[in-house]
Subunit: 298 residues, 4 copies
């Protein structure tokens, strides 16, 4: 469909921009080898962040953004050549082009705030991704989405139709080469099968400050516990409900004056902000998952 809205585009300086993510067992010489490789290729490093988990023998993580003339023509060769360096250090690695935007599928139910926030970030150019589609078990959001030129699919879900509904969802999502699925206050549980298909590529926003208040009605739980601070958590979905690697969290103060409806109202702002932040980091390849936790080079 021809988009009626064209998000403000970022500077074309991202045309030759690439992002390298690496994890490997720590040992001397990694940075020397990688930076030498890039230098000899004629690449210019614009940002580099690294982290060594436990300096005396441990894991090493690095994220490098670099510019390379003729990136598009040379990238296959670049990867083939880097593979040799990578092997020496037993690296797990990826090199992606910044201009090759990630394709998002956003799942939503009845609450619109998280979706609206993502759409606004996308339109303003802050979220550098393609929104391939929005899928919902309700029809409410259609009029927010279609005018922007984004396909909207209403796939109702009942306990009887759950499996079939998910089959349709997966077909749409895989068929459109979606890279990452965003659950923007989507209220259905994702099946293990779907999760298997998108490991560390389904981002959910849970409306509590995990690991507190897992599961349903977390604001009511928070109200009953009488906490003085509430929060929201963006995480990758795993088979353990609300147990996957946390990408980002944020909080807000509350008091005895705030009943459950107030907590929800206050919480919405945290949810939408935290989800937008996490999604932006993911699409910019700033997140590495290790042992159910994340290293975020923000």
């Amino acid at each position: 469909m021809i988009p009626k809205v064209t998000p403000k585009s970022k500077s074309i300086s991202l045309y030759n921009r690439a992002r390298m993510l690496v994890s490997c067992p720590d040992q001397p010489g990694i940075v020397a080898a990688v930076s030498r490789f890039l230098y000899e290729y004629g690449a210019n490093i614009v940002q580099s962040d690294q982290y060594t988990m436990d300096p005396e023998g441990g894991l090493f993580f690095i994220r490098i953004e670099f510019d390379l003339e003729g990136l598009h023509e040379r990238r296959d060769q670049l990867k083939a050549d880097f593979a040799q360096v990578a092997d020496k250090f037993q690296m797990q690695w990826s090199i992606t082009r910044a201009s090759r935007k990630k394709r998002l599928a956003i799942f939503v139910s009845k609450e619109d705030h998280a979706l609206l926030e993502l759409l606004w970030h996308w339109q303003s150019g802050d979220l550098d991704a393609d929104i391939a589609m929005v899928i919902s078990n309700h029809n409410d959001m259609r009029e927010l989405v279609e005018p922007l030129g984004i396909p909207y699919y209403h796939i109702p879900v009942t306990s009887d139709t759950k499996a079939e509904a998910e089959r349709q969802q997966m077909e749409l999502v895989t068929g459109a080469q979606v890279d990452v699925v965003i659950l923007a206050r989507y209220m259905q549980i994702i099946s293990p099968k779907f999760i298997e298909h998108y490991p560390n590529r389904i981002i959910n926003i849970h409306h509590s400050f995990l690991p507190a208040f897992v599961g349903g009605k977390p604001y009511a739980q928070a109200y009953n516990r009488g906490v003085k601070i509430i929060g929201a958590t963006a995480h990758y979905v795993t088979e353990e409900l609300d147990g996957g690697p946390i990408i980002e969290q944020d909080v807000q103060r509350v008091s005895h004056r705030d009943n459950v409806e107030d907590l929800k109202r206050i919480g919405r702002h945290i949810e939408r902000t935290v989800l937008a932040r996490a999604v932006a980091w993911h699409v910019e390849d700033r997140v590495i998952v290790h042992q159910n936790k994340t290293v975020v080079f923000s």
Copy 2:
């Protein structure tokens, strides 16, 4: 013992200052009745905070600070007279003199930060209370405490001697008319018997953001979960471990760069600040407990 250190005293304007705390079923006329009572007594209200839980039939809470000439001579009569107003509205209430400082017993183990913070607040006059004693299962803190003229009791605790140790603690505490017991990173569990004796009058600082990471080694738990924010919680001790009414909480951001030792180091600052805040509110009669939660008129 003659104190070698005299905390800077607050203005003597607190001499005629009283604090009234009231809870009762909500109905029209409570504020009219209470404020009229005080007006006719010649009292001057300096601060008043109220809260109605659920306006259409619910609970009403109010805290009033007022000055009354001749408070000390008139207080018994004041209370007797107010009791009549209170009965009409089925109030639970208290009127305490601001100048009648609460007496604290601080329990500490090996970590000094929470204790030091309380001592500093006390010396500077910010914590308007008497520190009757410090009790510890170790001897390390003696030299921080005794030079300030505060009695220090070293009562070791092992699994065999636990009951006897607590018997000694209770004897010291009750014998000195202690109003509230502060567990300043005291690492022993308080027995139900002790809790019974001091309901909502034992304040503990738990080194996590409750209800996350209850129990032991919360920083290690937080590290394993990979949270991006850690916190500390001050609460009244009840029989349920780390389950009592929360008085105050605060948080701080952390990242993948912070290992368990870093989390402890960062956490200490939150713990000491949160505990000091909670203790100050308690001694100023700003906290009302209702159904395992607190209303805090801060």
Copy 3:
């Protein structure tokens, strides 16, 4: 115009809800007199917040929300009767009906975030006001506003046409009985004449943490100073540029990594949140202005 969008309405429990704001010289008996007055009228106080500036002779402020059966029929009499109480205490006071929503005029230029936030709050029912119109010196926002059934007026402004443009603005605004004007990143300076007409009823969001970085290009100023925290400030407009009473402020951390564009991007989130908060407080009669400062009963 028939609105295509009806904001979700709040519970009709606000039908009999009134808000009383009072300031007067402090003396004993104010609360007794006011609460007695309301009690005898049969009103039920649902929330009350007060503040005495300087207990030993000073100013007293109180905000009371109460429910009164037959409020609409009785309000004129209520005000006439209360005037007698008010005179005794030399009160400045107001009693407004919660159901009588304030009418807003929102002025906007090219940045859409602050306006979008207000529209979203309004649609969700969080902002309990009527948006009478949106006025802009550009035409960009028309398509965001008119589909919601809100009148949009494009009034261009150049140095030559400034006075005439403002004349048109004032005509539209006064003609529609607008209560408060919101400058949602409106980039034109408001003339003294307009300010005179709407004292403490023009709310501006300034994109810095006042009083730092007054005037133009505050993010560039912040960048040059190398601050580690940026913020936004909502304030009533007075003749002194960015010098009026501050209603609300908030901040966000930044670092050397953030250039001016990043500061703007981060700042937008603070601006929209702070403005929405301040406007909500104003329309709920939670703000009292005193000596170029505000008392906010939030």
Copy 4:
């Protein structure tokens, strides 16, 4: 004097630890050259942070922590060899040993909180530096300092004796090879001569959120402006009062309820925390100054 208190020492793993700080014009190959240099030396990089100001031609900053066997014996040679790499890239650089602790002189007046916080951080091992002396224009703090084995010098200052007092201060400070002077709420202005001697090596804590409320009585200024947030700022002292490069800032919410004394009380907590943070970063060589701003690799 023999110290009665020995700060808990950090792990001896810092014995072979070095820190390299580099700034230079950005160009391809810097990281490759530096990491190769270190690799060939047999050094193991444990942490590395870099920042390029403006990727298309600009400044490059990097901080590398590395371990090197035999660091102490080899360091002179290391520096001589690195100088050749540095010249190629026109680097400004330094390599310091982590075990060579920086020597601090703390200046204090009558407020003790900032000093106490530094002393506590030092005793607990969090502040990895030597406190060479405390200098004060009053005698109040002597009993807090001398028992810790730290020399205390009382040097009174009046307008007549200002120059002589500073001469004595400089003699003491330079005589003891002090690396950095900390003004811990020291209320005297530092002369240009002193600043010249310690460029970017005098850290002051100003009790406001700069650039707001420069100069005297910032809390009274803040109170008069009616800000809703106050803060504190740690910065290097330059000739422009409170105008030097900002190292760290933090804030806290306040309200109309807080008078000037309350703001001071709340502010003290921010001041001591911010100063301690800034000093720790400085002694760990985490701060680079560039054009009256700082790059902080925290």
